[in-house]
């Protein structure tokens, strides 16, 4: 909860300004918050949500393709590559520029420190393999890692995703859990004072 006003502003600018991700227009508001209702997770709908919300924009490393930068779908949703050691982020001068992004779009540096996008595949050691559906929903609702731990850092738009219905979030989680597990240990975030 140390997230300051400026950090929240930066998050907003960085995510929406640069990524241009879209919220899916189809949201069944009638089941909002209905955790108690029985729901059979729909993997296909979860896949649709992940595509539409732009999860690959940050959680899939980008590479240079024939038409410019594009997500490397051979490493879909595996987060920041563990073998890509990032040098210290360049320090920006005072002014309106506030964030720096790695070429893979998986490493972000700003007033919050340096954050690395998570491995969303169900690998038990390095991904979401030991997460529960409830933990995933709480994470999106609270902005806290595993629903209790450290704050989820920018540019992760958890507050936007947290507005999805329980059923939508269950579908997203079911899809992520259906992916092949990939072992990729993402570095821990770096505090701003330690850069």
């Amino acid at each position: 909860m140390t997230t300051s006003r400026s950090t929240q502003l930066v998050f907003g600018l960085a995510f929406f300004g640069f990524m241009g991700a879209a919220v899916p227009a189809v949201v069944n508001a009638t089941d909002a918050g209905s955790a108690a209702q029985a729901h059979t997770p729909n993997v296909e709908h979860g896949a649709y949500m992940v595509r539409a919300m732009g999860c690959n924009d940050c959680h899939t490393p980008w590479k240079m393709g024939p038409k410019g930068p594009e997500p490397d779908m051979s490493r879909a949703l595996t987060g920041h590559p563990e073998n890509l050691k990032m040098p210290p982020a360049p320090q920006l001068p005072e002014g309106p520029w506030v964030a720096v992004i790695g070429a893979t779009q998986t490493a972000w540096s700003g007033p919050w420190g340096v954050s690395f996008t998570a491995n969303l595949t169900p690998d038990k050691e390095t991904g979401l393999g030991d997460w529960t559906e409830d933990m995933f929903i709480k994470t999106m609702r609270t902005g806290l890692h595993q629903g209790k731990g450290r704050p989820i850092l920018p540019p992760m738009p958890w507050s936007m995703i947290g507005k999805l219905t329980d059923n939508d979030l269950k579908d997203v989680f079911a899809y992520l859990q259906s992916l092949p597990p990939v072992k990729n240990r993402v570095p821990a975030p770096v505090d701003p004072t330690e850069r």
Binding site: M1, T2, T142, Q146, K148, D191
Partner: protein, 359 residues
Amino acid sequence: MVIRGHFAVAALVALTVAGTSWRFAIEAAPAAPPLVAPATLVETGLYADARIGEIDPRNRPFSPQYPLWTDGATKRRWIQLPAGAQIDATDAYEWQFPVGTKVWKEFAFAGRKVETRFIWRASANEWVFASYVWNADGTAAVIADGDGLPGAAEVAPNKFHNIPSVDQCRACHVSNRTEILGFNALQLSTDRDPNALHGEPLAAGMVTLETLSNEGLLAPARPELVTTPPRIAARSAEERALLGYLAGNCGACHNRQTELAPLGLHWKHGDLATRGADALLSLEGHRTKWQASGVADGETVAIDPMNPEQSAILRRMRSRSPASQMPPLGTVVQDREAVALLQRWLESQAVTVSREHER
């Protein structure tokens, strides 16, 4: 055959009619809407006379001996139990509260009331959480947005108190066996820790373990809790204060019941009262996923007795950066007294370990 056929038709009709009636019953009785918190603090029933801030006498003040650090906020707390109802005190450390129980906690910074939080057991299955934001002159408080309110008060230069979202309230309060975290046999023990950090003096009229017992508000009565009040098992007064602090500030999430149990930090009131220092000593050399700067990758440990400064627990309690700080929410200013207390304890352990190595 004919008779059987008639029976079959009759049964089908009966089932159809029964099914239709059942459907009608379902459609005619829509689910009751969830109970929600009132729009204003006054409507929660805290005051007898809100104009002069007079508290309704049914709302009893209390003060946990190991309070939660909230950046130096001054707090006042009250609890209301429904008339004739009792607290289920079967588990001394995790009480179950009757339907209708209400709890309030008021937060003030530099003498100005900022928010009053409200927990209400509205039904057997529903706990309602809300926070009420005070206006600038402290005359009225209205319910905060469920998403919380960042920047509610400046508590240090460019550091702001944030009112948590309802989901953040639930993150700590709903994942335990009891939703009211600062109200149990240890927190209300009459064997009060004189060295508790930020401990508040008991004021006249405050509820304690003894008053609850004397008034017959505990079921079972648990008279032994009064004759032998709960106390943290510790080897020194400082250790007692440290363990109590961890119970009050960390144990709500770091315990055996939540998703964080595998981390090995089991610091709930009951654990620390009975296990004492073992709850900390067992973490010596215990590797953490969190990575301390200046420590080789994967080598960070919760408690490093040979190098206390490298201990993750100390680093994270000292930090107020989002990626590292503990607790992760509810505070933006380091609790220097707590950090110093932990540091002294770690250094004393280092001396102990060093002496053992010399033998």
